[in-house]
Assembly symmetry: C2
Homo-oligomer: 246 residues x 2
């Protein structure tokens, strides 16, 4: 390895071979879901390469979504991806409940805040109007899947915070306040995680994730809730059925 210039080598970078090897081990099931990958030092020794090169390969595999790192404990094989049909429901929770995904919600923070210009426009309220804001972490089978920040128009949901927020808020709003969701505007993009999100999701800070934003409208056509979810990219798949118009 690492001769001055073998040139006989297929020009395939060393770290690529390691990536391919790890990918195979995972895809083939030799390494089952949530099992530990070899450590950086172990891979370096196994392949006769430096730790930094092994690390490069592991980071690539991690970024690919095949593995996730868990702080300084090690890297583990990612679980299966799950699908979220955005054209049928506006609540992931309702969707997840129907299956057997062990869904758990952790409340990270809640506060009463005021609408800034962007939120005011989205929720059709005046700038400065009171909004409930709460941040929650959603776990599937004990593993972080996405972080959601939600803003609800305060005057529509008096004493919202007196209720348990570790449940579907759209269901809560429907049951307790008679505000069923009728439709939603959704947008999806890929972006980098900020520090807080990365910490909650157990990812390196500048990893990419998928952001899903949605404005939820009631039967009267007026928006009452705005949510912003940031997903671990390897976990989510969003599906929809579109009817062609105009």
């Amino acid at each position: 390895m690492s001769e001055n210039n073998p040139a006989a080598e297929n020009k395939v970078p060393v770290f690529q071979k390691v990536i391919d090897h790890l990918r195979d081990e995972i895809r083939s099931g030799k390494l089952p879901e949530h099992s530990a990958l070899p450590s950086e030092r172990a891979i370096g020794k196994q392949f006769g390469i430096s730790r930094m090169t092994a690390r490069r390969a592991l980071l690539a595999v991690e970024q690919e979504g095949l593995a996730y790192s868990s702080g300084r404990r090690g890297r583990f094989v990612s679980p299966q991806r799950l699908t979220y049909d955005i054209s049928k429901t506006v609540s992931f929770f309702a969707h997840a409940e129907s299956g057997e995904l062990g869904l758990k919600i952790e409340l990270i923070s809640k506060q009463l805040t005021q609408a800034d210009a962007a939120l005011a426009a989205k929720l059709a309220v005046a700038e400065g109007d009171a909004l409930y804001k709460y941040t929650r972490l959603f776990l599937l089978k004990g593993h972080p899947a996405f972080v959601e920040e939600e803003f609800a128009v305060a005057h529509l949901f008096p004493d919202l915070f007196s209720h348990d927020l570790q449940q579907s808020t759209t269901l809560l709003m429907e049951r307790e306040y008679g505000m069923p969701p009728h439709s939603g505007d959704i947008s999806i993009r890929m972006r980098a995680l900020n520090e807080e999100e990365a910490g909650l999701l157990g990812l390196p800070t500048y990893n990419a994730g998928i952001e899903l934003e949605q404005v939820i409208y009631g039967s009267d056509g007026k928006p009452f809730c705005f949510g912003r979810q940031i997903w671990r990219g390897e976990l989510a798949e969003f599906s929809a059925h579109a009817i062609v118009t105009g």
Copy 2:
């Protein structure tokens, strides 16, 4: 820099500061779209850090989507993100044409092939049935945006390849074959690029992108085309309007 243990430093990693600095330069407009970022070596010198640390910061900024690298020419500031409304149209081209995005299509390959099990199921044909397959690269203002692989049921579109494929194929199918799109099933996920895609999009191989798959149905409710697009993650945003059912 790099004393044994200052501990006075705010514990903020060096590369983070560089990232923040670059982000500011880009966000503030000091570095306009498509302008060159400082090179790895230049940043190393400027901040008094090693090239590898500077590189780390640049890769993070790149991954964030704020910059793109162009082979060994350097890194440049990314252009604005654009939005693709998946609930209204099934053709990105038609969407893009309406705006002033300089859209160009490059034909990468075309062939007549046979449906494998997965494609047969998606297109409601028998396994082994003839399909047209073509791969195209879509550029916006001269910059690669996504690669699309499309499969069309062959017997519905005789001599498809005699037409110009550097245009919207849904429009082509509608105009030349009387097969307007009626609806589509779409799914979106984040995944890593393979070598070919990365090469076409000008990205490192293991980079993440957004994959959009769609089956297009005609007025008779039968599928006639399947497409798989892989987007540069920082360029795309997908929006939809959902009506809550069930």
